[in-house]
Symmetry: none
Subunit: 394 residues, 2 copies
DNA sequence: CTGGCAGTGTCCGGAACCGGACACTCTGTC
DNA sequence: GACAGAGTGTCCGGTTCCGGACACTGCCAG
């Protein structure tokens, strides 16, 4: 994403080049930079490509169009992408109905053409002064890299990003596969049309080309795997990045061999977080700051013992676990966690046995291992509880 | 507060008696009752005295006034008193600027005089149909808190309300989970766009952001749970409050682990009403007064023996049960109840059997009573699951 | 000091549960 | 139409679990 200096950046959406030129000159005189778009598609592209602070939006782009429907649709799309984005509707063809519709659709204000320069600039500055959202939140997408191991993986990914090579990214859940994939797409020459495909739910492949991001690729049915293999053999094949929690060997065993031939020419493997403590240090710092800012709460104090225990802990869901742990620390004001929650809950839903074990242990702890009371609460006889204690090693 | 029958009640604010008369006739023909006000003060008085469903608001009341300033000020005052009140501005002296100002001030829509009767009635009915909150619940919005246990939970909720943290609220049926959730939303920085999602019926997640209130979160399908987990990882994630009658441990067993990581960093647990007798005392007082006012009947006398028996009783549906009991007492004039209703109904799950039954049923529902899949999830063989189904009558 | 009470840990005959196996149905694909 | 795969409902010999009973310990009020 291109980041300008501290001058606010406006997006000016109007189909008239003369109006665009005049606006650019006028705003620059007043310390505001603008990027221009002439229709909805280019507007969304500019919004994605720049850190826009405010949008000035005309409602009509097609010759002879006066209904404003195009602009209202674009307004809604913009607010879907960025719900807190201030949008000022600036239009000539206007009536009360259009103005009301624009306001109901989420416009911050409504200005009629031709506008008064001073009034418009004053309105813009007032809105910019009152904006509540830190632009910093966009920084969360970056890969946080400190360890040499991850640095090598990211460097390889960056090198391959501009190519159209299919890539497999392996790594345990929560290790950053999705982040790395999105980074590759962002750095590629064709940073649009990202299509997310869930391996478990995929019943048919998209018709569109572009960039395909396939999660849990091993869950694709054999039929879809064959179709994907065929698709990758076409001249204008999509760019595919496949994600999996399995390793390369397991994928070899699970996926169609023809598909593996195409996909697996590059396999990037993100190691578990436990194996890269340098990343943990950096992630703790990053997320502490991030969640403190996001929630408006102070991050709890971090000392060496606490940091050592975070480094020594196991993270079943990798960065996702660590991130959740840090957010909870910010919200609760302490790094302490209830002892029950220190159990690993990795994997799918737990079984009846697991649930029973948890409840038995919880009841025993609650009653200080008084078997009679715990049995009463659990609705068990004491011998029955003794047997379960033996079974579960409690 | 004067309560009308089931017909919606509108407040019509216009200074012209002839317009008021014509409006009353027209609306009555279409099944809508109105009360009228001729200026700001009488409008606020009527708003306070009646359970108003919607306001039709002219903007000018003084002779010769056309600026709309009076009406805009009144609009703001109304919305301070009742933030969710739908207000439609109906005015003759209008332009784009006035319309924009009214919408920015919180008007639901803007209609110009002279209006089209059918269109106006259609608009009113559409707004009434889409109103999100039952009138009764807005008047008893406050948590009734006396016990230390609930006070701690509410304090924690208030502290977290301004954050965007996802929250799980656990508690038996009728214990006030929905009230607490709404309180959190009301106190948050973004008290709009509340979307209610029923876990059992949810086939797809909303596209809109804002605040999501998920009832029976454990009933979400695995697919929806994964999508929700993905959604919560986005930068501009919705604010989610999830409600469940299950405890934290059972949710751990039932929900997708990735989802639990995001949702369960804060778990608020409302204890059963039986365990907080101080709340019972306060609730009895509150509801006695509330229903006496509502029904225009005196509350039956309360003595110590009666109060003690209410404290000692079991409340299977918690506050909901107590509330119904008090309303009946007001309506019948006595605290005596038919003996049949003194039976203890099954309370929340406490024993291992209850928990097992609940998990078995939930797994079966989750998999559409596919016994093979449910057994696999529960870690049981199919015959073992069949025996439990027979045992529990599923 | 003593008796009552709450709790502990184990025993054992009978009851209940286990899961592999079987015969069957339904659906989708070739 | 044939076939494979997923699922259904039940059977039955073997295994496990059940809970009342027993012997015992520790604590505390009288």
């Amino acid at each position: 994403m291109v980041q300008h200096n501290e001058k606010p950046l406006l997006l000016f959406v109007d189909d008239d080049p003369d109006v665009q030129s005049a606006a650019r000159l006028m705003f620059r005189h007043r310390g505001l930079e603008i990027v221009c778009a002439h229709d909805g598609q280019s507007a969304m592209t500019q919004l994605a490509a720049h850190a826009i602070d405010l949008v000035l939006l005309d409602l009509n782009y097609s010759k002879g169009a006066t209904s404003g429907a195009e602009g209202l649709a674009l307004l809604k799309d913009m607010l879907i992408m960025r719900p807190d984005l201030p949008v000022v509707v600036v239009t000539g063809h206007s009536g009360v109905a259009i103005a009301v519709a624009a306001m109901r659709a989420g416009a911050r204000d409504f200005v009629m053409k031709p506008w008064n320069n001073e009034r418009l600039v004053n309105l813009i500055e007032k809105i910019l002064a009152s904006r509540p959202v830190e632009r910093e939140t966009t920084t969360e997408h970056a890969m946080i890299v400190a360890s040499a191991a991850l640095e090598r993986v990211v460097a390889e990914a960056d090198r391959l990003a501009p190519t159209r090579a299919p890539i497999i990214i392996c790594g345990p859940p929560g290790s950053g596969k999705m982040l790395l994939a999105r980074r590759i797409f962002a750095l590629s020459h064709d940073a649009e049309n990202e299509i997310l495909i869930h391996g478990e739910e995929c019943n048919e492949l998209p018709e569109e080309q572009g960039n395909w991001l396939i999660r849990d690729v091993e869950a694709l049915t054999p039929t879809i795997q064959r179709r994907l293999a065929d698709r990758l053999e076409m001249v204008n094949a999509p760019r595919v990045i496949a994600l999996s929690s399995l390793g390369r060997d397991a994928l070899d065993a699970r996926l169609d061999p023809k598909l593996m031939l195409h996909l697996a020419m590059v396999v990037l493997t993100i190691t578990p977080l436990d194996q890269r403590p340098d990343d943990i240090i950096t992630l703790v710092s990053h997320f502490s700051h991030y969640f403190a800012t996001r929630h408006g709460l102070p991050a709890p104090d971090m000392d060496d013992i606490c940091l050592a225990s975070l480094k020594a802990a196991t993270w079943p869901q990798n960065v996702r676990s660590l991130r959740a742990r840090i957010e909870r620390a910010v919200l609760t004001g302490t790094w302490q966690v209830p002892s029950l929650e220190q159990h690993d809950n990795a994997g799918g839903p737990t079984t009846l046995h697991d649930t029973e074990r948890m409840l038995v242990e919880a009841a025993l702890r609650k009653h200080g291992f008084n078997v009679t009371q715990a049995a009463r609460e659990l609705g068990l006889t004491r011998p029955a509880l003794y047997r379960r204690m033996a079974r579960y090693g409690l």
